[in-house]
Each structure stands twice: as C-alpha cells, then as structure tokens.
Assembly symmetry: C2
Homo-oligomer: 212 residues x 2
C-alpha cells in the first residue's frame, strides 16, 4: 500500500508532491497489470506507460528503468505476502490458527491474483531478484513459525507432520487458484465460485490432516 523501496529521482528534501504520489501509484498499478499478465520480458515500457496514461519518457522520470518498476512491485508485494504467516499466533489454538492462516492466504489469492501471478512468475524464472529475501527474511520467518508448529505437535495439539512441508502445502493449495485460474475455470465450467468451494474444501482437508 505504501513505501516503495526505490530511489526516488526527483526531490532532494523530504516529501513527495501529490502529483508524484499519483503518478508513481499509477505506474505501479499499470506495471502490476502488465508484468503479471505477460511476465517480465513480455512487458514493455510503452505498454506500462500507456496503461498508466503517461508517455514513456515521463514514466522513466519516476522510475529509472523497467527493472526498477519490477523491483518496487516485488518489494511491495512481499510484505503483504508474508503478513498472514506473521499473524500466526503462538498462543492461539493450533488447529484454528492454521485454518485461519489458510483462509487469509486464500483470501489474498482471491483479492490479489495479479500479485500472486507476479510472484509466481518471478519464482518460476529462478527468483533472480528474490533469492536474497527468500533465503533471508522468508527462511527466518518460516524457521520461527515451524518451531511453533513443532511445539504444538509435541504437545499433541496438532497431528505430527513435517512443519515446513505443511507450509508448502498451504502455499501451493491457495496460490493454485490464482495462478492456474484458466485451468480451474476450464475444468469447473460455469456456475461455480472457485474460491468459495476452495475455502470449504481446504478447511476440510487441513482439519482432517491436522486433527490430533
């Protein structure tokens, strides 16, 4: 929503103009649309600029390069992406906590499918811009939460499964509905609400898996 981890070319001291705020936001919005739909190499500055209703040189006045737009998007994305896992409460009731995490993650896929695809696109290519964060921030957070899960399992309040693979399965199952949407729609046909059905199904799945 805020804070882009990018060098801002204009303005030496302090605040951004309203016009800067607006244009940077428009560029990020357009970039998200184009990058998530076509991948990094498929996206062109012309297309992003026109989507943002700017000229290409004008876009490059706000971001120094195509890569910079892409990086800003990925950086913004990661906070939102990790938040649900951060919210897993070590003091909560184990099964309920995990199920709540699953739901939050599924809601993210439903409400921000473009972000999900942007992320998938990046990891698919080997995560060239993300490897640092994956091995740093993400790995640390997972280590932390995996310990919580492990404790719950040791206390007999959660069925014993490999904690990290449990997390993988949550990520895989929730992202699938955003990233493979065309396939899901093709298989289900019309008259379905994929995310609503998925919510019920995933609750059943993880409840049965994790019931102590």
């Amino acid at each position: 929503m805020s804070m882009d981890g990018q060098d801002e070319p204009p303005r030496a001291g302090g605040g951004r103009t309203r016009i800067q705020e607006r244009n940077r936001a428009a560029i990020l919005e357009a970039g998200l649309a184009v990058f998530s739909a076509t991948g990094f190499s498929g996206a062109t500055l012309d297309r992003i600029a026109s989507e943002a209703k700017l000229s290409k040189p004008n876009l490059l006045y706000y971001f120094p390069s195509k890569e910079a737009v892409h990086m800003a998007l990925l950086t913004n994305l990661l906070d939102a992406w990790l938040a649900p896992l951060r919210a897993l409460d070590p003091e909560g009731e184990p099964v309920a906590e995990v199920l709540a995490y699953v739901r939050r993650k599924l809601d993210l896929s439903r409400d921000f499918p473009r972000e999900s695809r942007l992320f998938a696109n990046e990891v698919l290519r080997g995560a060239p811009h993300l490897s640092g964060v994956l091995e740093g921030e993400l790995a640390a957070l997972v280590e932390d939460k995996a310990a919580v899960l492990e404790r719950w399992m040791a206390e007999g309040r959660l069925a014993r499964v490999p904690p990290k693979h449990l997390l993988f399965s949550i990520w895989a199952l929730t992202q699938h509905y955003a990233d493979f949407e065309p396939q899901v729609r093709a298989v289900l046909g019309q008259g379905h609400d994929p995310f609503a059905e998925a919510g019920d199904y995933l609750e059943t799945l993880f409840r049965r898996l994790l019931a102590p």
Copy 2:
C-alpha cells in the same frame, strides 16, 4: 518422446531423415530448456539455436517460427501430463488408486521439472495456446475421472470431498515442488531431499483426507 504435432517443412513423402530426426529433437530439447527458464517472451531464437548447436536460419529450416517450436513442445507435453490421470483405474482400490496417482504426478514433477515450468508459464499467461485443450480434452478427462471418484464416494470407499477440487489439490501440491523449487530450497536449506520428503508427506495428507 515422439510425434510432434507440427507441419514438417521438408520432405513431401513419408519418412524423416536421421539428420532431421536428430535436429528436430535437439531443437525441442533446447527450446524446452530456454522456454522453461525464461518464459516465451524471454526466449530468443538465437539462444535456442545456439543451445541446439545450430544457426538461427537452420533452426527456422526445421520449424517455421518461434511459436511453432513452443507449440510443438506444449503438444508433446500434454500427453505425458495427462497420462497419469488416464491411468487411474475405475476398478482399483479407491485410496490406493488416488495415492498411486499422486505418486506418479510427483514423479513427473521430479523427473520433468522443465516441462512442469513450461506448462505453468503458459497457464500463468492465461493459457493462450492451451485454452482449447484445457476446455476440451482436459475437461472431458476430468469429468470422466471425477465421476469415478464420485462413485467411490457414494459407495463409501472414499471420504466425500469435491472430486474436482481433490484433483486440483493433487496438481497444486505436486507441481509446487517443481515450479517453486527456488523457494522450497531456500526454506528447507541444505541436507534435504525435497521430493522424497514430499512423497511421504503427501501420502499422509491424502490418506487422512480420503480414508472413508
């Protein structure tokens, strides 16, 4: 492994030369490597050609365009991709059949991760070249097998869950280990065999989910 669904420019009558066989195979192999690593737009004919140890015009002597190479790969891929589901035996023991399907699909992800990523890349972009097959062949096959699963559930030999979502979850969980490999490695650290662990975990997961 064989049969590419593409117009073959040379040779009017019948058989392909050994040299044609070899070069077409080299191009497809190189194309798979490059497309799966960089996506369609990120791949260049020069790179595919050099990977195949051919000149670019020579590559275009065997395939009429970049798109043609891509299409040939997708076509080849789909047979292999659907085979495990086709092998689901309506006369078999339900839980064992599903678990066998999961294992076959996971083996596919382990042994053919590039194919998995190629497929993911395509669906991520909205499946422009696959929508026909998805809504036709795939949808029909799923309809068929979903009916089998439904029957097993009605007979009380399989826990009752939405059959199509059950299939989604199998696809999501098995493909995840190939498509998000960088993330998996970053989280697990060293000294792990992701696919071996995944095999055990997924067996547990689906056994608990599906036990009648």
